[in-house]
């Protein structure tokens, strides 16, 4: 036995586990999980005492930007995965809007290899749907799949051509890969920079109406119904979008969806004073939308909580609001912000962990997000009562761009283990037993 985590409160929705027990790890794999007393072979096994702590499958983030290759000044695979494990994630999926775009096996292989040599956790690339994300011709999905891509998306540059989107949903079926839709009607968005409403008028900023997202979600749902393809809706931010997904699921259309912490915590009001840290796409919406997104998480309409970790350099945000980059650095706050839903009584801990582990793993067809015997030991140990104040200067990520600066949050990962190896620990006190 290489490592035993004992006396921790284990929650693993993939197996319906919710008890205080022990996890045995050998050769990087989980070999046993039990709720009886731990048998320790003295002197041979390293033991990690998780008394008073919770133990979950390592979190799975199906929507992140690691910026490498091409934008290493914003983030690298090394810095990004380092931030990910600090946030409790052991698997992250990186979007293809790199330079060059991840639209072929060479770029996909580069990311996979770089992650293996420098990364702190598992990295699963998401390939582009179309070549150069230009929305004209399909990219080589099959070859990218072979190189390690787990889904396809033209994130940020949605496929506007409905026929091409239809083909993508059809063609990807053969590879059993989901098509992830950044649902936005670009013509309706009309280069907007925030949510459209009274506030955008007041600030004199061009607005993106909620309808821009809702129309695109509805189109893609119709195309999923038409093709039987696997559609996943990224970062749902609107009440209308949640409603459309709920109806589609009720009608038996195979569609899944995610949202991000900023869409269930923040409204457009954050944009006041031209605060570029709150500039994100889709934009922060209204209170009504925040309520609807929360409702969607509660009733299961929204399957997954993802980060949409979008790190940017200081210069990309310290500028005119119109010129500022869209995006929020999310790895290091996502778990705590999501846990707030549990603390607020909206979700059970089991529901939350499901949405951050096994659900995204199932959607992507990954054997992750579970503590089943025989799988790689990707585990996060969290202290659900540890309070902290969000300070971007303490972020490991190169991207310090967060609208949550100064928020007091409760609960954080203290140890993150990937493939049986400790990749992050909050401090050394917990490591006293020989790790």
């Amino acid at each position: 036995m290489d490592l035993i985590i004992r006396r921790g409160h284990i929650v693993d929705p993939s197996q319906g586990i919710d008890f205080i027990g022990s996890i045995y790890i050998e050769n990087g794999l989980i070999v046993k999980i039990e709720n009886t007393g731990t048998t320790v072979e003295p002197g041979i096994t390293r033991v990690l005492d998780a008394s008073g702590l919770y133990v979950f499958p390592g979190l799975v983030d199906m929507h992140a930007h690691l910026r490498e290759p091409g934008f290493e000044y914003k983030e690298t695979i090394k810095s990004g995965t380092s931030a990910a494990v600090k946030g409790g994630f052991t698997s992250v999926c990186c979007m293809p809007n790199t330079k060059p775009v991840n639209d072929n096996e060479t770029v996909a292989e580069f990311i996979v290899k770089k992650a293996l040599s420098e990364g702190f956790c598992n990295v699963f690339p998401i390939g582009a749907i179309t070549k150069r994300q230009e929305g004209v011709e399909l990219a080589e999905m099959g070859m990218m799949k072979d190189a390690g891509c787990v889904a396809f998306s033209d994130d940020g540059r949605p496929v506007t051509d409905s026929l091409l989107m239809r083909r993508a949903l059809e063609y990807s079926k053969v590879f059993s890969s989901p098509i992830i839709s950044h649902a936005e009607d670009l013509s309706l968005s009309n280069n907007g920079v925030m949510n459209e409403g009274y506030l955008s008028t007041t600030l004199g900023l061009r607005g993106i109406p909620a309808a821009s997202e809702v129309i695109a979600i509805k189109r893609d749902i119709e195309l999923a119904a038409l093709t039987g393809g696997r559609l996943h809706i990224a970062h749902c931010s609107t009440a209308g979008g949640v409603r459309a997904i709920r109806e589609a699921k009720r009608d038996g259309i195979y569609v899944t969806a995610e949202t991000c912490p900023h869409y269930f915590h923040l409204t457009e009001a954050e944009t006041g004073g031209y605060n570029t840290a709150a500039k994100v796409n889709p934009p922060l919406r209204t209170k009504k939308d925040v309520e609807a997104v929360r409702e969607g998480l509660i009733d299961g309409t929204i399957d997954v909580i993802a980060t949409d970790h979008a790190p940017h350099h200081r210069d990309d945000k310290l500028c005119e609001f119109d010129r500022a980059a869209f995006g929020i650095s999310g790895f290091e706050t996502a778990f705590s912000l999501s846990l707030a839903l549990v603390k607020g009584g909206l979700l059970t801990l089991n529901q939350l962990i499901e949405k951050m582990t096994i659900r995204p793993a199932q959607i992507l067809g990954l054997s992750k997000g579970s503590l089943r015997e025989g799988v790689e030991a990707d585990i996060v140990i969290a202290d659900l009562n540890k309070d902290f104040i969000v300070d971007p200067e303490q972020f490991v990520s190169k991207g310090k761009n967060t609208p949550f600066n100064g928020w007091r949050l409760s609960g954080m990962p203290v140890i993150t283990i990937c493939k049986g190896k400790v990749k992050y620990h909050l401090n050394n006190s917990l490591m006293a037993e020989g790790i």
Binding site: Y198, S200, T201, T202, G204, Y274, D315, E320
Partner: protein
């Protein structure tokens, strides 16, 4: 007073009134033979214009010179910004000259607010994107007060492209604070979301909108709005929303007609109206000088001394 004039929306009503009263004194100065006063001698103003402007820039420059301020003009076509210097660096460079005022005109909303966060100088918004043009609203309020004696209780119509007009936005906030009864008149495409919160009534038909009005402000209609699909042609716009003498007849007999310039005769306003006895368009230009002098003077005293 704050050290900056960034917008009217957050300005205190008392400050607006103070500016208008101070402007009266400066208007007296402008009627003298020697129009220059030493009030701001030794102070330096930078007119930083990222958008083409003749009227506003000239007005600010003259106001600065009338107050004996040293003036630097920094006209930055967007193309040279594209060459690489960030706005942050531009401001830091300008600030290193030891300047007291930055008068900023920019195509993006919120740029004056951004500059105010990174600069110790007094920042005056000379028009930012589709957000605000505060000194225009102040000079309009000054003109209305001069013509009508008061603003509270007046029925004031703003006609035209409200959606893309920073002049309209600043005027709405200013006149609302001063107690006017504001009507907007425009096709639905040119009415911005939520603006009903700030005005008394919205009309889409100019004839009924103009009835019993004391003041009409017409706004410039930009040709590019046609390609944006906001209306179909300038001819059709004029037919339905243009200010003609006939329509003006529906207003109160002593109605005044205003326009921030530059005008498109035959698009938003008929020539006969622009040149009629109701028009105070040229008075607005003169008053612009007095109001800008007042703003410079008051902000200078509000700025913390070194």
């Amino acid at each position: 007073m704050d050290k900056d004039l960034l917008d009217i929306k957050s300005a205190a009503t008392a400050d607006i009134e103070l500016i208008l009263n101070t402007a009266s004194s400066f208007k007296d100065v402008l009627s003298r033979d020697i129009k220059k006063v030493p009030t701001l001698r030794g102070k330096t103003a930078v007119n930083l214009f990222f958008e083409p402007s003749t009227r506003t820039k000239t007005s600010f420059e003259l106001a600065e010179k009338r107050l004996s301020t040293d003036v630097i003009n920094f006209v930055v076509p967007s193309s040279s910004v594209a060459k690489g210097e960030t706005l942050y660096d531009t401001i830091k460079t300008i600030e290193s000259y030891g300047i007291d005022f930055i008068i900023i005109r920019h195509q993006f909303s919120g740029v004056p607010h951004f500059i105010s966060r990174i600069s110790k100088a007094s920042v005056i918004n000379a028009g930012d994107g589709i957000n605000e043009h505060p000194t225009q609203a102040l000079l309009d309020a000054f003109t209305i007060k001069e013509q009508k004696g008061t603003i509270a209780g007046l029925k004031i119509a703003i006609v035209g492209d409200i959606s893309h007009s920073r002049v309209a936005k600043s005027n709405i906030y200013c006149l609302k604070k001063l107690g006017a009864d504001i009507r907007l008149i425009a096709p639905h495409t040119l009415i911005p979301t939520g603006i009903e919160n700030d005005v008394t009534e919205i009309y889409h038909d100019i004839e009924s909108g103009i009835a019993d009005i004391d003041v009409i402000m017409t706004l410039r209609i930009q040709q590019e709005r046609q390609s944006g699909g906001f209306f179909s042609s300038t001819d059709e716009y004029f037919k339905f929303w243009g200010l003609t003498l006939k329509r003006l007849g529906k207003a109160r007999p002593d109605v005044i007609v205003m326009h921030p310039g530059p005008m498109n005769r035959g698009v938003e306003i008929a020539s006969e109206v622009a040149d009629s006895r109701h028009s105070v368009i040229n008075t607005q230009v003169t008053n612009g000088l007095a109001v800008r002098m007042a703003v410079l003077y008051l902000l200078d005293s509000a700025r913390p001394r070194k």
